[in-house]
Amino acid sequence: MARPRVTNTQAEVARQVHAAYAAVIMDHLDIPSRDTHQSATFDGGFMLDCGVALPSVTVAYRTYGTLNPARSNAILVCHALTGDQYVAEPHPGTGKPGWWKEVVGPGRPIDTDRFFVICANVLGGCMGSTGPRSPRDDGPDAPPWGTDFPPITIRDMVRAQRLLIDRLGVSCLFAAVGGSMGGMQVLEWAATFPDQVFAAVPVATAAFHSAQNIAFHEVGRQAVFADPEWAGGEYWRHGTIPARGLAVARMAAHITYLSEQALTRKFGRRLQIPATGTSSLFGDMFEVESYLRHQGSTFVNRFDANSYLTITRAMDYFDLAADHDGDLARAFRGTATRFCIVSFDSDWLFPTAQSRAIARALNRAGANVSFVEIASDKGHDAFLLDEPDFHRALSGFLSGCAEHAGL
């Protein structure tokens, strides 16, 4: 049965593990070059919250559906930490379906037959928007920013998105919708540009990043730092990527996106049959281990390590109340935006208590707020998955708001 038999040396184990990642390192990135992404560039300087001015910013984006003549049916979808603008179509690098295809599309809760949907790669990202992989200047051989890319905030991301929607001719969003870090952006939109968001749907999110969540991010960052291939953030000089470090970061993070019930349901304590039949300390592999390794190794093919560092840091800095004298209600005082707060009962990364705190702050601000906790055993990831109650609530909320907006 399942007892590991210890006959191997540690060195042999290390060789095996390293071999698993060697292919990934050789294989290199699937990320298409930035020129292949649809994007808009804004010259004339972009002042970041940290005080550094970027000479220009590029925002890569995708749109779906048609903007109506009144330009009043635009919905901005904000993506999470490792998401991108390919919300409702196959990812050009991996070929996988859009990350929110259950939610965005014809006849879906965010109905592209009815609404004009915009999704932009966040500032600091690696799918065409300005970030650590962007060249430092316009020179022909300009090196990437790397870890010299200035620290950015969720508000910087939102201000870059605002430039984009202005460029697209949208002066007021009908709605901003997003989960996790996307929900942080939605909250920031409602707080910073209240007159430009008719409805806001922050899903599975919080008004600040908790100490526990910062701690998990730090584990991921340390994994990247500890990979020699990271090379102080200048891995491009060696033509490599810190694949092992980034994969471990993803593995640790991925656990936080699931729930104990979901892991038990999907994997339990089942073992995969060892391929070689040789007995060794790690000759057997639990299915959950195999799954996590797969998650780690596929992630490094599509994501840039320095972007991961930059964006996790932006989430860590997020504390909307702190920007408003410590009172979250002040961030929303007098707002006319209609809110729908959604949480999932098995989400321990962004637990319902944090959504409830947002809802209560909105009550204090006198805002119009719907708040629902969806029953699901899928943990934080539930917002990305097929959750009919969530989809019904989102669809109904948007329809109700459309009626109030005269759409």
């Binding site: 209560r360 204090r364 707020v369 708040f371 109650d389 019904r392 669809s395």
Partner: protein, 199 residues
């Protein structure tokens, strides 16, 4: 629509701001929005009802009358509605105080424990009454704070609330001539409805 909701909606001025506590599936707030142009919102403790209401485009949030009213600012609403829930909350007195803090007026309906059938059953059998209105045994009823119409008048006087309107009806919503006399209403009314204002 349940008759007490219909009677309540008739007492609510058009275009008012209304909070319905225990809004259930959102029938009242939808009716107030569609027929009176009210900005009507709901709080509901049953998550399935909340999901149902939000999925119908109604602004309802999950919350508890006992704990969540404290988070609203003073005077945010013109009317705060509590229908057939007062007897089930933990602290009825505090809930009423909060209602009249966050709203100019409070609309409260509750089943009357002073009805003659309830009194008669207790006197005759010496056991907790079971009637069409009070239909759950004592060990599983959510109604932990039953009161009579007279009790409610006393509480309003004690708290300094002005009773702008009140009525007592039977379970079909019919009013009877005795509605003008609190003593008789307390004997023959099965349901009571009060419109209160901060005095």
């Amino acid at each position: 629509m349940r008759f007490d909701l219909r009677l309540m909606s008739e007492m609510i001025a058009p275009a008012s701001r209304v909070l319905d506590i225990g809004s259930g599936d959102g029938t009242l707030i939808e009716y107030l929005f569609r027929t009176r142009g009210c900005d009507a919102r709901g709080i509901e403790i049953d998550m399935a009802e909340v999901t149902h209401a939000v999925a119908h485009g109604l602004p309802v949030m999950h919350g508890d009358a006992d704990t969540d009213l404290a988070h609203y600012p003073d005077g945010l609403f013109d009317y705060v509605v509590l229908s057939r829930t007062l007897q089930a909350v933990e602290r009825p007195q505090e809930v009423l105080r909060q209602m009249l803090r966050i709203g100019t007026r409070a609309l409260v309906s509750f089943p009357n424990f002073g009805h003659w059938r309830v009194r008669w059953q207790l006197v005759r059998s010496g056991r907790m009454p079971m009637t069409a209105t009070w239909d759950r045994p004592w060990y599983e009823t959510p109604n932990i704070h039953p009161c009579t119409i007279r009790d409610f008048f006393v509480l309003c006087a004690q708290e300094g609330y002005a009773v702008e309107r009140w009525l007592a009806v039977d379970n079909e919503g019919h009013q009877a001539p005795w509605r003008r006399f609190p003593g008789l209403a307390n004997l023959f009314g099965e349901q009571a409805l009060f419109l209160l204002r901060r005095a």
